[in-house]
């Protein structure tokens, strides 16, 4: 099992959406994929087209170690473990558990019957957060989703290319905007090989697919974003190798 934690330091960078999209493209490419929603907002299901937010999940069953009972399976064959709807106390209990034992998440995952070369993509809340920290601590790869805006530049991750377990990608990129082009150049300079060499374009096709409640690969297979996500999936596999 290889664990990828999707994180970011700003809100609305696109973690949840990319988590779902990456899960779909990797599953279609024949990989075993488990999507783990570690964000109390519990939104990953919507991005997957589940039509609602599952009530049960990590927050209700996680502490008891009964993960498999709450896992769902999408029509694409993706395993999906929702966060679930929990009271603030329940959420806080999980958070405290993660702070106390940062590797708890990984250990629990390893107890699941999941293929050794399977991929676990973990959606997290905006950093700093105990959930994001725990996901990053246990991950084989921390994958930062960077929104193309000025806040991103101010909150850049402090890693460097030598850190093999940390990568970034620029999301919602619009090549027509000169600010986007400038930001991209700055980020390439600062992050070097840490940054995925191509950005994910902002493409209306994504919003349309979500509105139609269809997987992007079915709704707009020839859209730029579908191509970008496919390429991103291949790039991630390459990095993990």
């Amino acid at each position: 099992m290889r664990l990828i934690a999707l994180t970011s330091a700003t809100g609305g960078a696109g973690r949840t959406t990319l988590c779902a999209l990456l899960g779909q493209t990797l599953a279609r490419a024949g990989h075993d994929v488990l999507l783990l929603d570690l964000d109390p907002a519990n939104l990953l299901g919507l991005a997957l087209g589940a039509g609602g937010r599952p009530a049960t999940g990590l927050v209700s069953h996680g502490a008891a170690g009964r993960w498999a009972e709450t896992a769902l399976r999408t029509s694409d064959g993706i395993h999906y473990l929702p966060f679930g709807a929990g009271s603030p106390t329940a959420v806080q209990r999980i958070a405290e558990q993660l702070i106390a034992e940062p590797l708890w998440l990984r250990n629990e995952l390893q107890r699941i019957d999941f293929p050794a070369d399977g991929l676990v993509l973990c959606d997290t809340p905006r950093q700093p957060s105990p959930f994001a920290a725990a996901a990053a601590a246990g991950a084989d790869l921390q994958f930062d989703i960077l929104a193309t805006d000025v806040y991103t530049y101010a909150t850049l991750p402090a890693g460097d290319a030598a850190d093999h377990a940390h990568r970034c990608v620029l999301n919602s990129f619009d090549a027509r905007r000169s600010l986007h082009g400038d930001l991209r150049l700055l980020l390439e300079e600062r992050l070097g090989a840490m940054l995925c060499p191509f950005p994910i374009h902002r493409d209306e096709a994504l919003a349309e697919a979500l509105a139609r409640d269809r997987a992007l690969a079915d709704d707009a297979p020839d859209s730029q974003i579908a191509r970008d996500v496919d390429a991103l999936g291949r790039w991630l596999l390459d990095v993990l190798r």
């Binding site: 090549a175 082009g181 493409d203 209306e204 096709a205 020839d222």
Partner: protein
Amino acid sequence: MIAGLRRRVAVAFGVAPGVGLKSWLTALFVLPTSQVKPLPAALQRWLMPLQHATAIDLAVPAPRRLRQWFVALWWLSPEARQRLTPLSQVARALLTPLGWPLQLLERVLNHFDFAPLSARLETLATGSPLAGPLLGALGLVIAGLSVVLWATTPLSDTQQLGLFVAVWLFSMVVRRLPGRAATLLLAGLSVLATARYAWWRINNSLAFEGIGEWLFGGGLLLAEIYAWMILLLGFIQNAWPLNRKPAPLPADVSRWPTVDIFIPSYNEPLKVVKPTVLAATSLDWPRDKLRVWLLDDGHRDSFRQFAEAAGVRYLTRPDNAHAKAGNLNHALQYSDGEFIAIFDCDHIPVRSFLQTTLGWLLRDPKCALVQTPHHFFSPDPFERNLGTFRSMPNEGSLFYGLVQDGNDLWNAAFFCGSCAVIRRAPLESIGGIAVETVTEDAHTALKLHRRGWNSVYLSLTQAAGLATESLASHVAQRIRWARGMAQIFRIDNPLVGRGLSLFQRLCYANAMLHFFYGLPRLAFLTAPLAYLFFQLHIIHAAATTLAVYVLPHLVQAGLANSRVQGRFRRSFWAEAYESVLAWYIAIPTTLALISPHAGAFKVTAKGGLVEKPYFDLRIALPYLALVLLNTAGVAIAIPRLLYWNAFETGTVVMNLLWALANVVMMGTALGVAAETRQVRVAHRVPLRVPASLYLPDGRVLPCVTRDYSAGGIGVQTAGREPLLPGTHAHVGLRRGDSEATFPVTLSSVRGDQLGLQLDALTLDQERELIEYTFGRADAWLDWHDDAEDDRPLASLREVLKFGLSGYAKGLRALYSALRSRQPVTIG
């Protein structure tokens, strides 16, 4: 009285009074209906069915009209072609036995694996003790003596024929061996065959009677001597091209030198110059070490403003003395970069130009010049009018693909006026760019070589531009080159004077002598007429004897040249190119030899457009004259063959074949003179890179570019989105991983093929567009990938085809020009 006469002639010819010249011309060939007499009944009974059957076979729609027959003879309709298939199969079956021995030989040779033999030959050649200077000289002397011995040994005609067959068979085997040793061997065999022919020709075939034979015979002999010399010099120059690779630059960028980029312009429009200047400012080089100069001899305010906006320096001068050379020298005084890169204002450099070329200049402190090829992304008049663009090496391929690389082996690669870098110090030491001749470039390089500086040629396309637009401007350009080279030959002859090595002298001499082909080619194009018209025996030998000597020379030279230069110029195309230009080159080169400074210098016009097809009668007049003369020769040959000269059939047949070959060659020239219409001003350059189309509704479509031009981009989408022409969008182009977008309007939608017309761009956007299109480092890399080995016989067939279709095209163009009463020539 004249009016009365004219009326009577008009009545006799059946021409209505007061009509134009055309009706008169028609009347010369076509009887008016009132005067048509029916054929004798018996004849008609025979002829009508024959005509009927032929008309059906050839699919002539209206058999009564002569023009329909003419059209049908040149353009077979598909149905006619189908009907004729059995006929052509019969013809092929009859012709095949002729080529059969050759095919058999090739088939036998196919059974052998020549690789080990070739490898052994190669080690023998490269590891030979003859590589040392002393032994090498000894080897040269021995080789020279054996050539003399070989050439002078007398043989009977039969023995000579036997020798030829043996040498030819040997060559057919050697041809199969890859590698340079085999190439040298083929060239050697060709030299032997030519030496034998030359010895025989001079000793046994010269016996002139009367002034006519002296004139024609002497002329032909001189032309042949010229051809032998060019053949030999060509082998020396081209048999072992150096094919140098670029040298790397120092890793420490602070050690990279300062470079001035000179872009001279005289009368070219700004839209031609703009891309070049913008590309020059985007070259990959430290910004503080790169200065771009726009050198405007046209004194134009629009150029000054553009230079200011583009951030380049602008220079103009009070007089335009010495044209381009003077313009460059003027700029030398104002600039101080260690190196100078020169681009013609329509040669757009790619971004890697300086990094590719400067390496050798830094590695070798005695290197004064690095030259790269001139590449054209639009078809030249040959390619456009014959339809051979990108399907065949063009006229320039030989020079930039082989000759300069061959020169480079002997440290004799020379400056070609553009796409080159020169070291400032040596250039200033020879007084700047040479101004004495109209080919300042080659002369400057000669002066540098004389002072012991080295030159480098890199056969990597690092810039591209527009080819000459029309045959007229092409001819004008070649006249200038030929004149300039003749001038240098006259005033600063490379064969004499100080500072050059023997082989540098030979390479330069060949470069200049090459342009003297005008008179010799005209001699070959008219030689058979001396006999056919006047019964002059300009070669005093039996046709069979001549054949057994001249054929080995021609065949071996053909085989060797096909091997040495076939990838860059197909067999028989040199003859075609020369036939087109010979007439125009002949006079200026001769004049320049006599009086080097007579005549004026004309700048080649570029960026124009042939808006409708026309026949350039003024350019084609000499071709028509040569065609008529040779056709008349062919016509006369028939009674000579049958009656008048039946006692020397061999001679008649030889001259007849020669005149026929000339007629075919001139057909190519006519084909080139019939200018095909050019569809766009902006030439399309193929490019396949991923791109994105940003639609106004926020969707982004991935696509792949197909081509680009100065005004637009063609892309191919995945093809599922309904798109409307007229939509405003942006296209994002990629270079490596970076992307730049440009505003476009969808101008055409054909299935998944979209035509995107570029909207108005800011100067920065224009610069970026150049960086993503013409300035890409990989823009021209795969342009020559499809170069194939030469197949002499296939090439012969091709030249014949172009020759014949040249007549069809030329006559059609002439006909439509006459009919539409448009002016036949355009400036």
